[in-house]
């Protein structure tokens, strides 16, 4: 790569940016599809071991990315159980690893949000005949704009991590190189100004995404009350 800021004109940089967004946004979408209903069910359900499960889920928010990467690598390696899928060193493997990483974050935060809202909705929904999972999903959809915060937390974690995508992606130029692994590479090559510049680009993009989400949330709250 060239010096910063000339690199901003390099098509390779924008290919890396697009790939980073594809991987992290895909992971967020998948983790939200699974994690939001899981959090809602956990908030509303009552079963033995519920408290232990909540504690474990909260603890999993701190999963080290490099550990997740290692597990997924061992699973997807040709020598591993799912090697036949040939997913190692592809963007798909990176999406899988990041989804696993941020699923606990989204589930734990949505559980808290639904549990807080549940106090308001519980009686009314039961009176109308909505019970269990049906009621939980109704609350989940009703508080969808405040859930944006937990989704953004997941996105932040995914776009910031380097340990998982490095191990399962291999940082292959043009194929699995994302912003964070590119920054790690330039740093190890001793090109610190370029690495810093790439870091600034990454943080700007994340800032823009957060600002957009904030505006959506504000507009929706004004509209729906």
């Amino acid at each position: 790569m060239q010096e910063f800021p000339e690199v901003l004109l390099d098509a390779r940089l924008w290919q890396i940016v697009v790939l980073s967004l594809q991987v992290s946004l895909s992971a967020v979408a998948l983790a939200a599809c699974a994690g939001l209903p899981l959090g809602a069910a956990l908030a509303v359900g009552r079963f033995p071991g519920r408290d232990a499960l909540i504690v474990v889920l909260n603890a999993l928010m701190g999963l080290p990315p490099v550990v997740v990467g290692l597990f997924v690598y061992l699973a997807l390696s040709r020598a591993g159980p799912m090697g036949a899928l040939g997913l190692l060193f592809t963007p798909g493997a990176m999406v899988i690893a990041q989804t696993i990483l941020i699923l606990p974050i989204i589930a734990a935060l949505s559980r808290q949000a639904v549990e807080d809202a549940w106090r308001e909705y519980d009686e009314q929904l039961r009176s109308l005949g909505a019970r269990g999972l049906r009621a939980a999903l109704t609350v989940l959809w009703d508080i969808r704009f405040s859930l944006l915060t937990s989704v953004l937390a997941g996105l932040g974690r995914a776009s910031a991590e380097v340990g998982a995508v490095m191990i399962v992606g291999g940082n292959i130029e043009g194929v699995t190189r994302v912003m964070t692994t590119a920054i790690a590479l330039e740093t190890s090559k001793g090109d610190l100004p370029l690495a810093l510049g790439l870091g600034l680009v990454l943080m700007t993009i994340v800032l823009v995404l957060n600002a957009a989400a904030y505006l959506v949330k504000e507009a929706a709250q004004r509209r729906y009350g």
Partner: protein, 224 residues
Amino acid sequence: MILPLALRAVSFRDIIKPLSLEIEAGPSTIILGANGAGKSVLMRLMHGLLAPSSGTISWLRPGRHAMVFQRPVMLRRSALANVAYALRLAGADEALAMDALEEVGLAHLADRPARVLSGGEQQRLALARAWALHPEVLFLDEPTANLDPSATREIETIIRAFDAAGTKIVMATHNLGQARRLGDEVIYLHQGRVVERAPVDQFFARPASAEAAAFIKGELPWVS
């Protein structure tokens, strides 16, 4: 016909002491009592939102009964969608939602987000939602406690219309004037016990129990 509803030796923690009563079809029943007497808990026990600590609560047959709360809880959707949601839960035709809105005079606000409606409008919407499925019994827990007089009048008009259409009304209230306007019989609750039960005129003119008399006096100081 799901009535009568029979409560036998029903208690709830130390709020409701073991009591037995029957709610019959026909007359509008008002549950009266001071704060903390247990009105809200009794209503919730009858509607099935709480399980009794002891005793049994049985309807003649399983059927539909609905409840309107002091503070209505609306979903973040349009007024029409809130009613449609209730219909969908029951497996009924969602097209009936508009009829229900017309019954309470909210048809012109059908597409407005429910949470931006005024307090009185939201309570009317709650009535529409509760009534859309034509329940045999409608429980109301202090439905106008948070509303101004004109909104209160609108709600009472709707309740009277539902009563006239044949729905059994069971309503807890603080408002003695409202009790006289809407009620046919009064159940007076004092510290978790049913202390008196009488037709409404008789209750106010000649309260049989000392507690009821004191209550009426406290609420209406000019009655001697």
